[in-house]
Amino acid sequence: MKKSGIIGGVVAVLLVGGAAAAVAIAWRPAIAATDPAAEQSFDPAQVKRGRELAALGNCNSCHTVRGGKNFAGGLPVPTPFGAVFSSNITPDPETGIGRWPEAAFRRAMRSGVDREGRHLYPTFPYDHLTNVSDDDDRALYAFLMTREPVHAPARSNQLSFPFDHRVVIAGWKLLFLRAGAYKPDTTKSPEWNRGAYLVEGLAHCGACHTPRNALGAEQTTASFAGGDVDNWKAYAINAQSPAPVPWDADALFTYLRDGFHPDHGTARGPMAEVVSNLSAVPASDVRAIATYMADVFGKPSPVRKLQGETVLAQAKQGAAPPPESEGGKIYAAACAGCHESSRPPPYGGIHLGLSTAISSPDPRNLANIVLAGVVPIEGERSPIMPGFAAVMNDRQVAVLLEYLRSRFRGHPAWHDLEKTIADARRTQTAYVQNSAGPTNAPADPAQRDKP
């Protein structure tokens, strides 16, 4: 972010925030606390629906931490303004939302205000959740209120001035929160509309896949043009998609449902949690998301289509030219055994000509995956790849990545590759080596189909 942008942003926030405070727009009343509702007071069918909706909303990704209790919060979400910690959304009366009536929950989803009337930071994606229907909010509430209550006090946010003052959020909302229910497009199919409702609302895909402006809001002119999440690139999922083979609705459905598609590969990084969750929701909802997103990607141009077909044909041929360079030799022993085997996962990986990580203008995902590998999910059939952090130094990884880039895409080389790799080593390998649990957070299979 440019310095002038930051200063401009700060001034704008102060002005807007101040003005908002002056006309008392910022003030929201508290909603009276109630006694926690008895678990039996919720309809089991509604609770089950709420579980599916929570999976569609990927709530556990932020509200559950590694090794922690479900939905007890405490995850630091890094932003350019500091870290915001996710909150406890279990029904604990003291530290969770146990004393929130349904109206307070709905208000939080609609407009990002907690029961006491405090503005919530937009790391909670109410700019999307505002679209969620009353019925769906009710089911989500029923699901959350029937979870195990966990006593886990909120951790203090670590934000710089003036962002540590919640009045600023009121200004942000004036600028960027467009409240209102989803309005169906009558020219489109019900399935398309269902997908649009989910993607733009509860599933909040744009929160990662749309770039953000200086004030941390999604750039409405660049919807789905690619964003950043942790140390990963959330790829562009519109016409600018870097995928070697263009996506269509069928491929999207398979990928989102199973976490893998033979023409595209496997979901990993933060997307692994998303596809894990989507494996536990009704197939019709995943199909709807795929239908809508295929439209967002748009029909590929004839050139793009031909490129995709060429890559697929090359992938089928397999056989690599004899590798002569250092990168080629590393590739031959470390990668080709699986990636040129044509075997399905977990015994083989996709031909790397199909890899979006290699064709992406941003090398971070490839660096992350080469260093940390793909850790299989305990108790589930899932892709696996060994990480190479222990045996390759930064220079060797860079040599390999350059080889992959030039051999499989012929795109211009990446800049600052060694720095990217050093950053990836710091963030990813520390993460993998220090964590006790799986790298992905699977939807617990034992819990599926239960209310």
Binding site: P323, E326, G328, K329, I330, A332, A333, A334, G337, C338, P346, Y347, V375, E378, I384, M385, P386, F388, A390, V391, M392, Q396, S435, A436, G437
Partner: protein, 165 residues
């Protein structure tokens, strides 16, 4: 010719740079502790230690090893002078068919060099990439704890005590 440092000795190896380390160890140097399991880096039976870290030798080409120290199970101890990790695995009877065990011991050794007293959770997480079809997992975990205690004891023995003080 490539120079490869294995168990403290330099070896001149006549192999292509893209030859997996496992093949060099077994075929050229006749060090047969590391096993060929899947050849895909998925089972862990080929694990050796490179510069203190556990590495899957079947997917590690020679070209990556210049200037690095390779340690195999043969470098830790022998039948006449067992290393603590080997003694612990024997005393806990942690092997059944034993095919995975050399790899298990190497990664456990790397863990113990980094963490002197790992918890059950740390051992499970560290050894998660290793497959054992016989099902001796609980004995393996006990063996790693036992090896940790043995290494403590070895550190307190008179020979080392002088150095420590």
């Amino acid at each position: 010719m490539t120079t490869l440092k294995v168990n403290g000795r330099d070896h001149q190896v006549d192999a292509e740079p893209d030859t997996p380390l496992l093949y060099v160890l077994r075929d050229d140097l006749k060090l047969n502790a590391a096993k060929f399991g899947c050849g895909l880096g998925q089972c862990g039976s080929c694990t050796v230690i490179v510069d203190g870290k556990a590495v899957l030798s079947c997917v590690t080409p020679l070209v990556l090893l210049e200037g690095k120290q390779v340690t195999t199970l043969e470098g830790l101890g022998s039948t006449s002078a067992l290393a603590p990790i080997q003694r612990a695995f024997i005393e806990e009877q942690a092997a059944q068919c034993g095919y995975c065990i050399a790899g298990m011991m190497m990664r456990a050794q790397a863990l113990l060099q980094r963490v002197r007293h790992p918890t059950d959770e740390q051992i499970r997480s560290e050894l998660a990439p290793h497959l054992c079809r016989c099902g001796t997992h609980m004995r393996i975990i006990r063996a790693v704890h036992r090896a940790a205690r043995m290494m403590d004891f070895a550190a307190l023995s008179p020979a080392n005590k002088e150095g420590a003080q």
